[in-house]
Each structure stands twice: as C-alpha cells, then as structure tokens.
Amino acid sequence: MILKIDNVTKNFGGVTAIKETSFSVAPKEIFGLIGPNGAGKTTMFNIITGNYEPSSGQVIFRGEPMDGLKPHQIVRKGIARTFQNIRLFSSMSVLDNVLIGFDFQARYGFLESIVRFPRFIKEEKRIKVRSMEILDYFGMASFAHEKAVDLSYGQQRKVEIARALATNPELLLLDEPAAGMNPSETEELGVIIKKARNDFDLTVLLIEHDMKFVNQMCDKVLVLDYGKTIFEGKPHEAIQDPEVIAAYLGDFHND
C-alpha cells in the first residue's frame, strides 16, 4: 500500500469534517474519493498534504508517518495535488508555472544564481526542457509563454495537472479535475489521466462528482457522507448501494 489513512478524525470547532476514517490506496491504483457536498473530501486532501493536521489518526505514505511535516516537505516526499478552485500563479507564464514544480529538484545555490554559474545555466536549461516536455505531453507546449490566467478553464486544469507532475510525484491528488469541463473535455481528461498514470508510474487519488467519470476512471472508491465512510469498493457497486443512494438523494433534496 502506498498510502494508508489510519483512523483519521478532523474537527473544526464543533464540526467534525472527517470521522474515524481509514482506507488504503495500492500503487498505481486510481482511487476515487466521492460523496455529497461538504462530505469532507477536500478536508481529507488537506490532511494528506499537510495543510491541516488531523485531530487524531495518522497518514502513512510508503510506510512512513507524515506527522508534523509541512506541506512543502510532503510534496518533496512525492505527494502532489491540484486544487478544487484552480490556483495557478496568475502573474506568471504557463512555463514558469510548471518550472516552479521542478525548482526544488534544480541543483544550484543562491550565489550560483547571482553570478550565473555554469551549473545554474545547465540546470535551468534542464528543467526548462523537462517542463516543455510535460507541457507537450498535455498538448500545451504552444501556450508556454502565455499568461496562465489567459487560458480557458479546461486548459488551466491541464496546466495545473502538468504543474503537479513537475514535482515528480508518486501519488497525485486531483480535486474535482473535471469540474467545469464539457463532456468532450472530460473524456479527453480521463484518457490523459489514465495515460499519465502509466507513463509517470502514478497512483491517483481523485475527488469527483461526475459519477460517469468516476465509474470509467476508478479502480476503487470510498464514499464519504458527513465525514463518515459509508461505502468502500468498486465504483459500479457504489451506485447501487442503498446508503450511498440515500446520501446522494439527501444531497439532491437539500440542493
């Protein structure tokens, strides 16, 4: 198991966003985290990435507890993420957005960058080439010098995934990657995620509301409702589970 969530609880004041949740993700699996709005899915991501500290329980990545690690340290351990609301660096070009992901892997120091030491030039060139390769992989190379914010929604989502891949992760967390995309864009995204899983040796944990997408993509799903696990298993079984149906119906009802 590459990722193990061990009995995690997260309280915000009086609200219990996650309650005693445990699950494990196998290497190279595409694992779906689903559930109605406010179920605690994004909170679970924030716990895995170190943005929130769990009130109790543990996150174990490749056998190592992630307790007390800062988000930037967790990224360096091999967990990358995208955000539910796209969060690209708005003043920067698409290329620079991706370069940031490579930066901690670039081997040059502060003084070397000031005097433009040969190693600086070599390393900058190396990560630029690698960034362009990743952009090319997502069909975005021709937009490298555009401002990230000038792109369409679907393109921005792709850049965000490209940027996450630049950190060279083993585990990729995608928070609603298909949100706001039209059906053909969603389909294209599904293909590319599956392909990237193989090409980059990734394990993928994804949050998604689009059940058709989940069904196509995921090897396994976990359904949360008010922070509690109500189902774990195959996606096509999830949609037939009475408790899951009730949770979603309740959700539709509230909407």
């Binding site: 660096f89 940031i100 960058s113």
Partner: protein
Amino acid sequence: MGITVSKNQWMNVAMVAFAMCFIVFSSNYFDEYSVRILNNIAIFIILAVSYNLINGVTGQFSLEPNGFVAIGAYVTALLLVSPEAKQYQYAIVDPYPFVMTLHANFVVALLLSGIFAALLALALAAPVFRVRGDYLAIVTLGFGFIIKILAINNPEITNGSLGLNDIPEFSNLYWTGGIAIIAVIVILNIVNSKFGRAMKAVRDDEDAATAMGVNTFKAKTLAFCTSAFFEGVGGGLLAALLTSISPDLFDFFFTFQLLIIIVLGGLGSTTGAIIGTVLVIGGSEWMRFLDEPMHLFGYTTTAMPGMRMVVFSLILIFIMLFAREGIMGKRELKDFFTSRKKGEK
C-alpha cells in the same frame, strides 16, 4: 528560442555598457549640482530595486528601508571617520573605547554595512515569517523607530542626535553608479532564477506555492535579507556622499519616498523601480520651486516647505486609486520584446 536568449543577453550587455559610458561621461563633464543629483539617483536605484524585491516581487508589505539604511550609514560612518575626527566630535559623552578603534577601508565598510543589515533582517524574519499574516509592515515600521531611538540614545557610539560628521567623501559616481549596476544585475539574476520564481509564487498564491514544494518561509527570508543587504550598502554610500549623518535623516519619510518610487514604477518590476527613482528623485529636484515663495500672476505666495511631499503624496493616492499597476505593472523591459515575438507566432 536560443536566438531570443542571446538577443536579450546582448541587450543587457549593451545597457550595462551604456550605463558605464554615461557614468564616465557625466563624472567628467557634468557640473557639481547635476553629479550630486545623479549620485542621489544611483543610491536610490539601489534602494528601490532592493525594496521592490520584498515588497513587489515577493508581495510582502514591508516598511523596512529607513531602518536598514540607517544601520548601513552608521556602520560605514563609524568605520570611515578617522580617530582624530572622532576625538573632537563626541560632544555629548565620550565614546566607548572600541568606537575609537573601528576602522576599515571603503569596500570593507560597505560590505560590513550590508552584512550587518542582512543579519538583523534575518533576526527579524525568523519570528515574523513563521506565522502567516501581515505582521511584517508593523514590525518593520516599529524597527525603523527603534533604530532611530537607539541612535539618539546611545551617544557613546552614535554621538546621539548630533550625528557623525567628517565622514570622508568617498562616494562618487563611479562608486554609486557602479554599485547600482551591480545591485540591478544581482536582483534581476535572483528574480530570474528558481529563487525569484519562488518569491513570485509566494506573492501570487502562498498555498499553491507550498503545494509546489516551495519553502515559503525561506523564500520570504531570502528576499527580505537581500533587500536589507543592499539597503545597508546604500546607507553606507549615502553616508560617504553626505559626509554627515544624524538620526532624523532616517525617519519614516525616507521609507515613504521609496514606497512612492516603487508603486509609481509598478510593484514587482525592477525596470519600474529604476524609472520610478529617476522620476521621483529627479522630479523632486525639479519641483524644488514648490517649496519656495512663488510668484503667480503678480502675487507672491509665502514659502511652503513640504509642498513637494504633498504633491508626491497626491501622486501616490492617485496611483493607488486609478492606476494600481504603476508605470510598468509587473513587466520588465525585456517583456516588451518577448511579447511582440508571441504576437508573430
């Protein structure tokens, strides 16, 4: 792409060469008054581009310059003033014995000024950047006041409110201009490296930056200490230009002037900081008449000292209300060339 890189490099070399020629030419042919203004502009370019690194590039609202410039000025002054000159200057109390023994050449004095300021910046950064939130502005504002008060209340070192005089006038256009060129190159090299990208990422979205593996604490601290270093060096140059310094030279007004410069030029743009400096320092000389009695349509107004500052404050308010991006926005000179290339594609 290889072509544009070398084109940029050629342009950079050409601009440095031009700046150097300008320095040599103006040192030899300009009158004393113009050279004095150019010296001021050169020093303020050093201060503005470094202030812009923390405030504009990294997006951390800070009010530190006057504090670090004061530190640099005092360190340089104490190291340059000769023991004989120190002997008769300390009129309030006798100086500590170690003050009399302090001595260094100009380069060492400037470097120590910068290093001393940077170390103090590091000490401030550790507590301030550990927590999220806009504490930096308050802490640095307080820091400026504390430095000034320390300078007044430790006459054994600083000669109190009388300040230090007879500082050898080592600063000339070669020093101020040369160091300004170095400062601009160093800052641009930082901005165009992974360290600068990290700083911009912190400004754009701190959470996303962390999610990309950026150590935001380190990025902010690096920007702040680099700013402080050049502010210290700039303070040293200023001391050796003015030949006398006193605590009230480094009050909040000093920082305010730099704030106007970088906001006018465009927060985040190094080119903008340079343009802003030329406009504000040059313009401030040009607007000297505002502070003096004026003859308008046969009437004579009384002298209004501080009128220039009113004008600058109005300009600042205007920019903040109607033109937040300043003159350059976040762009640099080279962006105007690359953006045209993009259009051709």
